[in-house]
Symmetry: C2
Subunit: 116 residues, 2 copies
DNA sequence: CTTATCTACAACCAGATGGTTGTAGATAGG
DNA sequence: CCTATCTACAACCATCTGGTTGTAGATAAG
């Protein structure tokens, strides 16, 4: 199993974070980590506090990190977490493709060793 | 752009569907499409109606399809939609990696024509 | 036909979510 | 020092979400 031992809550938070257009847009903007929270905030038709909350959600899901720079807080995207999400999806495909085969193989292995 | 013209609502529904452990488990189980809604329902500590709602959410997000078989409704995973989700994540990575380069390139192309 | 099973859907409820405003602490600049 | 800016966080509110129960339609089985 490629992505093991990620508890449900973590995965929930990861995908839930991605399920909001404002947060996806924040992610697109902050790949290089040059934008402060207030710079991000002016991009959206909502209050600073609302954007701050979105950033907090992303941070909790580890999709971004924040780095203090004077009185600003620079937001940077965390590529590893995006990859984790991608791997979770791939794993699903693998389960779909291999479920039955794998069960048969395991049952076979018990008496025959590897097949083919 | 690999994944174009997917409106926000669609993407929201896609990731939101994935942000629930019951629904992720349903997806894992129904890759081959052999399971009816009621067969799925007995796997979880909740009512039939609750599982039915989860399946409805997955169906609306096009992560599964349903196929009538007599009085049952067989649920089958839709691999293309999983791939769509994966591509959305990859696209994010691409934006992070190439944002600045691409802006420079577009500005350059305006006077130079296509490169390479 | 009658009954049991599978599905669909409405109504309802508690808790989470996404927004608001307001207050307050830190830091930069005049 | 004083002020403006950036951030943090609490309180509040409307809506969405994930669960429940109950009712009803269709199909399979006796």
């Amino acid at each position: 199993m490629v992505v093991d031992r990620l508890i449900d809550e973590t995965v929930d938070g990861l995908f839930r974070s991605l399920a909001d257009p404002t947060r996806r847009d924040i992610l697109r903007r902050c790949g290089r980590g040059q934008l402060s929270v207030s710079q991000l905030a002016v991009c959206y038709p909502m209050s600073f506090a609302a954007v701050q909350k979105h950033v907090a959600v992303l941070e909790k899901a580890e999709l971004v990190t924040k780095e203090r720079k004077g009185r600003e807080q620079l937001v940077r995207g965390k590529v590893e977490t995006i990859r984790t999400a991608g791997r979770l999806l791939e794993e699903l495909e693998v389960v779909w493709r291999g479920r039955i085969d794998r069960i048969e193989q395991i049952l076979g292995d018990e008496k025959r060793g590897s097949r083919k």
